[in-house]
C-alpha cells in the first residue's frame, strides 16, 4: 500500500451517476437501498449505510462528499478510548470493539462525516475508511469508488502526486476552475482533495466562515497540556491556604488566650 494515499475529485468531470456510491456500498457490504433518513439529519445524503454521496448543486454540478481523512483529524484526537485511529499510511479507521459510543467524534468533525446506526441496540460509528483493509491486503490497488468512476472524475495516488495533478489542472484551465484546491491546507490539510468550477465551502459546517488552516486538535491540546500542573498547583494552593490559616489561629490562640474563642481548626464533622 502506498504511503499518504489521497483521493482527488474533479467536480467538473463528475456527472453524478453515483457509480462510486454503488461500488462503495458493494465493497463495504452496505445495504443497496438507503433507509429513510432520520428527522433532523442533514440533507447531504450521507448515512450509516452511505459512506460517500453525490451532492447536487444548481446548474448540474455534482460534488462528491466522503471522509476527508485529515492529516490531523479532530475525531481521532477527541476519541477518549482511541477507537478512531489514524493509520501509519494515512486513512482514518474505526474499531468497534474499543468504541463506547460517546459520539464525540460526530460532534468534532467539521465536515459532519461520522454517522451513527441509530436504529441498532449495539450501534457503530460508520464512515469512509478509504478501503483501508482491502488496500492493505493488496486485494485492490485503489479504492472501489475510484475504480468505479466512468468519467475518471475521481483519482487515486499519493498526496503529492494528487496535489501536483490538481495544480496542473488549475493552471491549464485557469478560467474554468476556482483557483483553490479544497483540502490542501484546510484544518491542517486533508487526504481527500477537490477541485471545482464552483466554491465548495458548503462541504464544511462553517456558516460561511472559513475553517482556517490551523488543525483543530491544537485547540483542545492547548487547554489539556497544562492539566498536570493545574492539578498539582491546586493541591499546593489548597494545602497552603489551610496551613496558613491553621498557623494564624494557633498563633492567635497563644497570644490572645481566652480572647480567641471558637477558633478550632479541626475538620467540622469531627466535633
Amino acid at each position: 500500500m502506498i504511503q499518504n494515499p489521497c483521493i482527488l475529485t474533479d467536480v467538473t468531470k463528475c456527472i453524478g451517476c453515483e457509480q462510486c456510491v454503488a461500488a462503495c456500498k458493494k465493497i463495504n457490504g452496505l445495504p443497496a437501498e438507503d433507509a429513510p433518513p432520520r428527522p433532523g439529519n442533514s440533507v447531504d445524503g450521507l448515512s450509516a449505510d452511505r459512506w460517500t454521496t453525490i451532492i447536487r448543486r444548481p446548474d448540474n454540478h455534482f460534488v462528491r462528499k466522503q471522509c476527508r481523512h485529515c492529516a490531523e483529524p479532530a475525531c481521532v484526537s477527541v476519541c477518549p478510548v482511541g477507537a478512531l485511529q489514524k493509520t501509519p499510511e494515512g486513512p482514518v479507521i474505526y474499531d468497534k470493539s474499543i468504541c463506547m459510543g460517546c459520539r464525540y467524534c460526530m460532534m468534532s468533525c467539521p465536515y459532519g462525516i461520522p454517522h451513527y446506526e441509530w436504529n441498532s441496540a449495539a450501534p457503530s460509528v460508520r464512515k469512509c475508511i478509504m478501503c483501508y483493509g482491502n488496500l492493505k491486503s493488496g486485494k485492490i490497488s485503489e479504492p472501489a469508488c475510484v475504480t468505479a468512476c466512468p468519467q475518471k472524475a475521481t483519482l487515486f495516488g499519493t498526496r503529492d502526486a494528487m496535489l501536483a495533478e490538481a495544480r496542473e489542472r488549475l493552471q491549464a484551465e485557469p478560467g474554468k476552475y476556482v483557483q483553490t484546491i479544497w483540502g490542501e491546507h484546510e484544518v491542517g490539510g486533508t487526504s481527500v482533495l477537490l477541485i471545482a468550477d464552483i466554491p465548495l465551502e458548503f462541504l464544511a459546517l462553517n456558516q460561511g466562515h472559513p475553517l482556517g488552516d490551523k488543525p483543530l486538535p491544537e485547540r483542545t491540546w492547548a487547554a489539556l497540556k497544562p492539566v498536570p500542573f493545574e492539578f498539582v498547583g491546586m493541591g499546593l494552593l489548597m494545602g497552603g491556604v489551610y496551613w496558613i490559616i491553621e498557623r494564624r489561629k494557633k498563633l492567635a490562640l497563644e497570644a490572645g488566650g481566652a480572647a480567641a474563642k471558637d477558633t478550632r481548626g479541626e475538620a467540622g464533622h469531627e466535633k
Binding site: 433532523g40 439529519n41 446548474d59 466512468p150 475518471k152 474554468k176 459546517l205 487547554a223 493545574e230 490559616i245
Partner: protein, 613 residues
C-alpha cells in the same frame, strides 16, 4: 404531626421514576433511535447537555463548600457541608447513570481505564469523574458510619478527611474546566457568543457560582419540605459570597467578549443574542445585584427564588453551549423527545429519593435528624396499634406509604411502556433522487416532464453508459433537452447528429475527415468521438465513448406519446382528478376543433401553465 408535603412530593418522584424505568427498557432493547430525537447532525442532546454538562455543574456545591469549610475554615457554612457533599455524590452518580443511557455501547463504559488517549478532553473528564466519585464516596462514608458499630472505620476515614477533601477539590477543578475544553474543538458549531478560548476557565468559575447557589437552593427547599426553620444566617453569608463570585464571572465573561469584539452580537436582536441576554440575566446579573441587598438576604423566599433562577440560568448556560447555540451551524432544530425528558427527570427523581432516605436515616444534618427522629417517635406513640414498627416519620405506617409509592411506580411504568414509541420515526422523502422515475424541469417556467431514467439507462447500455447522455453537460448547462436525442418527429434517429457534424466539418467535401480516404466511401467510422472532443467531453483513456455504438432513439413523437399518454389516460379515468378529456389529443395539441376548449375549461384557475409540455 403529619407531613403531607413530603409524602406527596415523594409519590410524584416515584411516578417519574416509574415512567423512566419504562423508557429505560425500550432504550436498551431497541436502541437510541427509538428513544431519542437525536440525529447525525445533533448527536448530543438533552442527556449530554442537561444530565452530564448540567449535572456535573449542579454537583459543584460539594467541592465549593468543602473548600469553604475545611480549607478556608468558614465554620458558618458547616451545616451545609454534609448535604452538599451528599448531593455531589448523588449528582455524580446521576451523571454516570445518565451516561449509561446516552452511550451507544454502555457496556464499554469502563474502556477509558485501559484504552488511553490523553489528547481527548473527554478522556480526562472520564478519569476525573471516576476518581471524584470514589473520593466523594469516601467523603460520604463517615456520615453513614457515624452511628453504626463500625467506629474504627469511621475514625480512620475521619482522620483522612482533609487530604480527601483537598483531592476532591483538585479533581473538581480539572473536570469542571475540562467540560469547557470539550467544546473547544468545535469552533464551527458553537455560536461566537459562547465560543471562546476561555471556555475552560469560564466553566470553572461558573461552577463555583452555581455551586454556591445550588447549596442555598437545596437548603431552602429541604427546610420547606421538612417544615423546618430556614438557616437564614448561613444563607445570607452564602449570598454575599455568591454575589462576589458572580461579579467576578460577569467581569471575566464580558471582558472576554469585548476583547474579541463580540459585544455587538449580544444586542443584534438575533435569537442567539436574546438567549444570551436571558441566560446572563437569570444566572448572573439578577442574583449578583439582588444578593447585595440586605432585605433580600434576610428573606428566605427571596433567596429561594433567586438561587433557583441562578441555578436554572447556569444549567441553561451549559445547555446553550453544548446544544442550543449550535442550531446556528447545523441548521437542524433538535427538540428532545418526551422519552428523553422522562429519563432525565427519572434520574433526578431517583437521586431525590435516595437523598431523602439518607437524610432521614443518617446524620447528614445532625440537628435535622434529631427533629426527624422526634417526629418518628411521636408517630410511634400516636398509632401503636396499627404501626408497631414505624420506620418512616410521616405519621402513616411505613407499609401504607410503601404501598402507595409502589403503586405510583408500577402504574407509571405500565403507562410508559404503553405510550413510548416502539419504532424509529421516519421521514417520507420529498422526491426520489436520480434513480428510477424522475421529474425533469424543462424550460424556465414551471413545466415538468416525467423522465424514466432507468429505461433510458437500460436501453443505452446499463452501467457504463452514463457518459452517453451526461457528457453533454457542460458548466452552465441547465440540462440536456430531450430533443438532443429525439431529434426527428416521426422516425427513430441516431443519437449522433450526422447532419450537424457534416455542416460543421465543412459540408459534402468533408466526409474523409471522419470516414477515412478511399472510393467508395466506407460507412465505418475511423474516428471516435473523443478524437475530436477530448477536451470538451472526457478524460483521456475513457472507454465510455469509444464503446458508444450509436444507439437509435425513438422519434420525438413516439417518445412524448409513450411517455405522456398512458399517464394522461389513467388520470382521465380517475374521478378525483376530474379532467375527463385529459387523455384526448386536444389536451395537448392546439389543432383540434373543440379540444382546446375542452382542456382549458377544466383547468383550475391559477394552474394554466402546468401540464402543457
Amino acid at each position: 404531626m403529619r407531613n403531607n408535603r413530603m409524602f406527596v412530593f415523594k409519590a410524584i418522584l416515584w411516578c417519574v421514576a416509574g415512567l423512566a424505568a419504562a423508557v429505560a427498557v425500550l432504550r436498551f432493547a431497541l436502541g437510541l433511535g427509538v428513544a431519542t430525537a437525536l440525529s447525525d447532525t445533533t448527536p448530543w442532546g438533552l442527556w449530554i447537555g442537561f444530565d452530564v454538562m448540567g449535572g456535573v455543574a449542579l454537583a459543584a456545591g460539594g467541592f465549593v463548600i468543602a473548600a469553604a469549610v475545611h480549607v478556608f475554615h468558614r465554620e458558618t457554612y458547616h451545616a451545609a457541608a454534609r448535604p452538599a457533599i451528599l448531593t455531589a455524590f448523588l449528582g455524580y452518580g446521576a451523571v454516570a447513570v445518565g451516561l449509561l443511557f446516552d452511550l451507544g455501547l454502555p457496556w464499554n463504559i469502563w474502556h477509558p481505564m485501559i484504552f488511553w488517549n490523553i489528547h481527548s478532553p473527554l478522556f480526562e473528564v472520564a478519569w476525573c469523574v471516576m476518581l471524584y466519585l470514589t473520593v466523594l464516596a469516601l467523603e460520604v462514608a463517615p456520615v453513614i458510619l457515624e452511628r453504626t458499630p463500625f467506629q474504627k472505620a469511621y475514625r480512620f476515614l475521619s482522620r483522612l478527611a482533609l487530604p480527601i477533601m483537598i483531592l476532591g477539590i483538585m479533581l473538581s477543578t480539572l473536570h469542571q474546566s475540562s467540560l469547557g475544553s470539550l467544546l473547544l474543538i468545535m469552533p464551527f458549531r458553537i455560536y461566537p457568543l459562547w465560543y471562546t478560548h476561555l471556555l475552560p476557565e469560564l466553566f470553572f468559575i461558573s461552577a463555583i457560582c452555581l455551586g454556591l447557589n445550588m447549596v442555598m437552593f437545596e437548603s431552602s427547599v429541604t427546610s420547606w419540605l421538612y417544615r423546618r426553620e430556614p438557616e437564614t444566617k448561613m444563607l445570607g453569608g452564602l449570598a454575599k459570597l455568591a454575589s462576589a463570585a458572580l461579579a467576578f464571572y460577569f467581569v471575566v465573561r464580558i471582558a472576554d467578549l469585548a476583547y474579541q469584539h463580540k459585544l455587538g452580537l449580544i444586542f443584534a436582536g438575533t435569537w442567539e443574542g436574546n438567549l444570551f441576554i436571558l441566560e446572563m440575566l437569570l444566572s448572573t446579573i439578577l442574583p449578583m445585584v439582588l444578593y447585595t441587598l440586605p432585605a433580600v438576604r434576610r428573606s428566605p423566599t427571596g433567596l429561594w427564588l433567586i438561587s433557583m433562577g441562578s441555578v436554572l440560568g447556569f444549567v441553561l448556560n451549559r445547555v446553550n453551549a453544548s446544544g442550543l447555540s449550535q442550531i446556528w451551524a447545523t441548521r437542524s432544530f433538535y427538540f428532545p423527545a418526551w422519552t428523553e425528558f422522562a429519563i432525565s427527570l427519572g434520574i433526578v427523581s431517583a437521586c431525590g429519593l435516595i437523598f431523602f432516605f439518607v437524610q432521614e436515616h443518617f446524620p447528614v444534618d445532625p440537628h435535622g435528624l434529631n427533629d426527624i427522629e422526634e417526629q418518628r417517635e411521636l408517630a410511634d406513640k400516636s398509632s401503636p396499634a396499627f404501626a408497631p414498627f414505624t420506620q418512616v416519620w410521616l405519621g402513616e405506617g411505613w407499609r401504607k406509604s410503601a404501598r402507595v409509592y409502589s403503586i405510583c411506580f408500577v402504574v407509571a411504568m405500565a403507562l410508559g411502556l404503553t405510550l413510548a414509541p416502539k419504532t424509529e420515526p421516519a421521514v417520507t422523502r420529498k422526491a426520489d433522487r436520480a434513480r428510477g422515475a424522475n421529474v425533469l424541469r424543462v424550460g424556465d417556467g414551471p413545466r415538468y416532464v416525467y423522465f424514466d431514467h432507468k429505461r433510458h439507462q437500460d436501453e443505452a447500455g446499463k452501467e457504463k453508459s452514463c457518459g452517453t447522455c451526461h457528457h453533454l453537460h457542460l458548466a452552465g448547462d441547465v440540462g440536456t433537452p430531450c430533443s438532443e436525442c429525439h431529434r426527428r418527429l416521426f422516425v427513430p434517429t441516431n443519437v449522433f447528429d450526422h447532419d450537424r457534424h457534416v455542416e460543421r466539418a465543412g459540408g459534402r467535401e468533408s466526409c474523409a475527415k471522419c470516414h477515412g480516404p478511399g472510393e467508395p466511401q466506407s460507412l465505418t467510422v475511423v474516428k471516435t468521438c473523443q478524437d475530436c472532443h477530448q477536451k470538451d467531453m472526457m478524460a483521456a483513456g475513457n472507454t465510455v465513448v469509444t464503446a458508444f455504438k450509436n444507439p437509435s432513439a425513438a422519434s420525438y413523437k413516439d417518445a412524448m406519446h409513450k411517455m405522456c399518454i398512458p399517464c394522461h389516460v389513467t388520470k382521465a379515468a380517475d374521478p378525483k382528478v376530474n379532467l375527463p378529456n385529459l387523455g384526448r389529443c386536444g389536451a395537448c395539441h392546439d389543432s383540434g376543433t373543440q379540444s382546446e376548449k375542452a382542456y382549458k375549461t377544466e383547468v383550475p384557475p391559477g394552474q394554466e401553465g402546468i401540464g402543457r409540455t
